[in-house]
């Protein structure tokens, strides 16, 4: 069963637990700027929007990588950075039309969501179920994909 991160902005309180959990899992530090999931506040509307990679089928990042440093994890469906191979050229950061691959100047490599190998820390850390890890066939995921499709470059 393919699982995916399902995000419901209406439930997000902006507590940033997910960013802390993510940066600790990914980079070993509690530093939201190193998180692969980001919370964007809309203060006027009183809304917080969690945002990260949807592991899209098109995998713009993976196809743009010149040295095969982004690979598909066939179990989780995640597109993962292979740190040993990433040279830090950043082409994936401009190729991803969703802006979910970012450069980390400290390591000289790029970072993106890898679903923590199938047990995402952000979902575990979220106290309000704004971020859940669910069966990809669940309807909420389709809704997310629809949003993503709207933001997809015309083919």
């Amino acid at each position: 069963m393919q699982m995916s991160l399902v995000i419901d902005a209406n439930k997000c309180t902006g507590c940033l637990q997910c960013e802390m959990a993510c940066s600790y899992e990914g980079e070993g530090v509690f530093n939201p700027t190193k998180s692969r999931i980001k919370i964007f506040p809309f203060h006027e509307e009183g809304i917080f929007v969690p945002y990260t990679c949807t592991q899209c089928d098109e995998a713009w990042c993976m196809h743009a990588c010149p040295v095969e440093a982004i690979v598909l994890n066939k179990t989780t469906g995640a597109k993962e950075i292979v740190n040993d191979l990433c040279v830090g050229c950043k082409v994936c950061t401009i190729a991803c039309p969703f802006g979910t691959v970012n450069y980390n100047a400290d390591s000289g490599k790029v970072i993106k969501c890898d679903l923590c190998g199938g047990d995402p820390e952000c979902a575990k850390a979220c106290p309000t179920d704004a971020i859940t890890y669910q069966d990809a066939n669940w309807t909420g995921y389709d809704k997310m994909k629809d949003y993503a499709a709207k933001a997809m470059p015309a083919k």
């Binding site: 039309p97 802006g99 933001a151």
Partner: protein
Amino acid sequence: MKHLIIGAGPSGVVAAEHIRKFDKSASITIIGDEPEAPYSRMAIPYHLIGNIKEEGTHLRHTAGHFDNLNIKIINDRVTKINSKNKSVELTSGGSESYDKLLIASGSRPVSPPIPGIGQPGVHSCWTLEDARAIAALAKPGAKVIQIGAGFIACIILEALARRDVELTVVEMEDRMVPRMMDSIAGNMIKDWCVHKKIDVFTNGQVSEIKKVDGDHTFKVSVKTPNGITELDADLVITATGVRPCTDFLEGSDLIIDDGIIVDKNMQTNVADIFAAGDVAQGKDFCTGEYTVQAIQPTAAEHGLIAAQNMVGAERAECGGTINMNVLDTMGLISCSFGLWQGVEGGESCQLVEKDKWRYLNLQFDGDVLIGATAIGHTQHVGVMRGLIQAEITLGPWKDKLLNNPLQLMSAYLACTQSAEIKS
């Protein structure tokens, strides 16, 4: 079905792999003219820095990758295409036949017409062979002059600086990276380089490279509006742009302008011949015109589309590729997308933060983003591509962006992701 691919760069390799996905039994052959495993030129600077070994530049890393896919790679060079009998002639004297041919021969550096350019010690930085020559001469303390401050030139700057050479850059235009950066951005990058102890001559032209006896190998004459300066050099690197490799197509029936003209299917004007990557003059998403882009993402996308149409399984069309680049100049990261120069009647905003080495330029046509330049911004930069290529209607968010371009990510989310966010 026999598929023949000229060129072992990203476009040719991506095409070969995708042909194999669609057709398990087809014969697939790649002809590459360098005696190396298929590699990425983009990775060469990181090899020069010493971050990766030569193997780290390779496009594929699994042992036996091409054998396993039954993709044959020949080290040879095509001298002529005979489209009548569907074959190509090779330097080695042999020939190869094809049912479908893909020309992905890439580009090569242009050699500026400067006296003394052809001698040893004067190199371009394009192939692994070039990288080896540069690595041998760029010793600590060596005086290195780089001609050109374009995209490739800037990427190799850091590699050279880290080798502790004394570096001078000479650029003809009034700023650095003139084809990717506007005046503010190009000069900010120049200031950054000067700040990093690199001598930069803009509006400068190297007029002669003379071999001399003495402590250094060359005397290099640089002409600027202030007169002529003579500089010592042990190594001269030319990085003044690249041009599609189409020499071997002279006399063919192919229509060639800057590159080989292709249609939306990456098909040339000659039956069963396709072109992709740096050598192809394909559709630009932003202008609708056919231009040579010579960038990695376009090479890969061309390769994918060409492969699909060569197999003929499902007709694939290229809606146009977007010209974009990302550049790391001695740690200062910049990127540009689409029509960063703007269009007539369009609106724009520029946020210049000189003290933070940051710059953001957004260009709009109506309420759609059509181009952007950024310096010092590395988070979520891909949304600039997303907004441009999906032609997202920004509505009221355009005015918010004109006021504060740093709200780019909020604008993106509001317009694409969340129906709940009203403005």
